[in-house]
């Protein structure tokens, strides 16, 4: 008797109480409903969400928007338990590199049929791609940002550089001129480039016409040991050597925070996101007026290098009890009215091709220019793990830059590691 009960209890517990009640029960009109929205800290400016939430509530009688800002730290675990609970949030934001892994687990609502209602023709290509899985659209673009070269206008002037570089040669030339002018100061760096800024590396690889992986249906094969990728890697080393940067070769641009180092005033250029200027300005406010930006130069004259586009997607959990309302919330968020506000806030809107607001400020203008040529990482669920854990590209960069491995050995090892990550666990 006790045994049977125990077994029943055991299997019930084992089955978990993940709600599967997605019979789409929509409440009768007029019944009060709550729409739970989880957006990440630093995504949508508060002015935007305040007015959007108010407008939504006005449009939908009896609906309250429970808007909660989430921290990136630990969000994976929080989403796991939230999606597995009986009352998941109705709208969630997913990093674009994470979106495929959620989609492939089939825990998101299929939005393929709603693309038109959600401003689909204005969608940013790279974010659209990260929202797709198995031919269906599981999440929508939200906003994006990409890197550019942030530089000190006053230092360029003093070094006799009349215009920002528009090609790789001009870039290297600028480094030489800066070194000649300011090199006497041992702490000066023409270009602060830590060893593991793999986002910059991606740009150089894309520019060579290569990529880190090739798509093959739902699978990917790594192509980091292709000639194009090697050429990109070699250019990275060229920059590091030419500028003599003292940045650590075994760490990335957040450790230590490159914005802080730029802010100290002894760095002429860094490859960064536009808001890193604001971070630098927090401790050194006068740096902002001396700063501008140019897109990462391409090796081909007249073009800008393709860039890695980081950003977020929006999705509706499969078990959400308010999927219909959630879709309307998304429609509002992706409407041109609110997407324009993203541009004003210095981000590339995910669902609007109108980037004019970004031209107001030279730093975001350069980003907007480069964003037209944006790509993302392979849209495979396995990428989430690579990001969460040990990124073979970072190890490859460090090994090559420190001379620990030859370029062939470093790229072959990274290729093997990426393939292992793509194929299994």
């Amino acid at each position: 008797m006790v045994g049977a009960a125990a077994i029943a209890l055991a299997t019930a517990g084992c089955a978990g109480s993940g709600g599967t009640d997605n019979s789409g029960d929509e409440a009768k009109a007029g019944e009060p409903r709550t729409l739970t929205v989880w957006l990440m800290n630093g995504s949508a400016p508060q002015t935007l969400t305040d007015s959007l939430n108010k407008e939504f509530e006005k449009k939908h009688d009896g609906v309250t928007v429970k808007y909660e800002v989430q921290e990136w730290n630990g969000i994976q675990d929080k989403l796991t338990t939230a999606l597995g609970s009986q009352e998941p949030p109705d709208v969630i934001e997913l990093g674009n590199t994470q979106a495929p892994s959620f989609a492939s687990e089939k825990v998101l609502t299929d939005l393929s049929g709603d693309v038109d209602k959600l401003n689909g023709d204005q969608w940013l290509d790279s974010l659209k791609a990260s929202g797709e899985w198995d031919g269906k659209q599981y999440s929508t673009p939200f906003y994006a940002a990409n890197r550019e070269v942030i530089y000190r206008t006053d230092m360029f002037e003093q070094a006799g550089i009349t215009a920002p570089p528009t090609s790789r040669d001009e870039w290297l030339d600028a480094i030489t001129k800066l070194k000649a002018k300011f090199g006497k100061d041992k702490q000066f760096q023409p270009l602060y480039l830590p060893g593991q800024n793999w986002y910059a590396l991606l740009s150089f690889i894309y520019d060579e016409g290569g990529d880190i992986a090739k798509k093959d249906g739902n699978d990917f094969t790594a192509t980091v040991n292709s000639d194009e990728a090697k050429a990109g890697l070699e250019f990275y080393k060229q920059l590091v050597d030419a500028s003599g940067t003292t940045a650590p070769k075994d760490n990335d641009e957040q450790n230590p925070e490159q914005a802080g180092i730029y802010g100290q005033g002894k760095v002429a250029m860094m490859i960064a996101l536009p808001w890193e200027v604001d971070t630098a300005a927090k401790d050194h406010p006068d740096i902002k007026e001396k700063t501008s930006a140019f897109p990462i130069p391409s090796k081909n004259a007249g073009e800008t290098a393709p860039v890695f586009q980081g950003g977020s997607n929006l999705a509706i959990p499969l078990n959400s009890k308010n999927a219909d309302l959630a879709k309307e919330y998304l429609a509002l968020m992706l409407s041109s009215k609110y997407q324009a506000q993203f541009a004003q806030a210095g981000m590339v809107p995910g669902a609007s091709t109108d980037l004019s607001a970004l031209d107001a400020n030279p730093v975001s203008k350069a980003m907007a220019e480069a964003s037209k040529n944006g790509k993302s990482v392979p849209a495979t669920p396995k990428w989430a793990t690579i990001e969460a854990g040990q990124n073979p590209l970072k190890d490859m960069l460090t090994a090559y830059l420190t001379g620990a491995k030859s370029i062939d050995a470093a790229t072959d090892d990274a290729n093997k590691a990426l393939d292992a990550a793509f194929s299994g666990s």
Partner: protein, 276 residues
Amino acid sequence: MRKTRGQQIALNTVGIVVAVLFAFPTYWMLTSSIKPSGDLLTPDYDLVPLAVTFDNFASAIAKPGFVVHLANSLIVTLGAVACSLVAGVLAAFPLARLRFRGRKGFLLLVLIAQMAPIEALFIPMFLLMQDAGLLNKLPSLLLVYFAITLPFTVWTLRGFVAGIPFELEEAAMVDGCGRFGAFRRVVLPLLGPGLVATSVFAFITAWNEFLYALVFMRDADKQTLPVWLATFKTVFGTDWGGIMAASVLYALPALVFFLIVQRKLVSGATAGALKG
């Protein structure tokens, strides 16, 4: 062993050196919290801060949610520690002193209960709390911390009780106390330092726990300090000065707890030994 003055001074010096070595990272955290954040990474020699500011503390305290998160942390931590100590002392006595069937089984249970990595337990724990309807309620965290701190509390207190010579209780029983009276009068006071060590450890374990606090509590007003601390790291960069200031504020309750507990309990211990 009576010490000469010279010997005492030598020993004290060694003690101070050890204290300084141990304090250095803490000193670094303290000075980082009062340095302007631009000074955190400087090629200059900054063993002593080059400039001092209290802005980091001001902004840390002013950060929304500090008081609420502090209160939540205190509730779940003190609650868990109290439960752990009570259950632990109650269990330590029979495990150390009494003979009964299944004693070895219980010992084994306590030992193995400590071996499971808690990161792997979080899914079953989550499902358990969900089934019990306790998600997003502070008692769920209290129970988890109670459960996490209980095995070593039981085990360590058992060790302390076993280390107290039984003759002391025997003497008390000869004087007319029963088993439990003897335990209460003789062993508990001597257990003082042991209770200090285990309660401080339990406090710190619960106080610093992050993963369960993050996934069990969904609403912002139910969250605890470690989750609050994580908000200093944003997409726009990390407020390191703020984190250091927040960490200093964070470590203080544990220190206060220790000072209170050690004064109350340790005096009892030495008094008890002398009475023997």
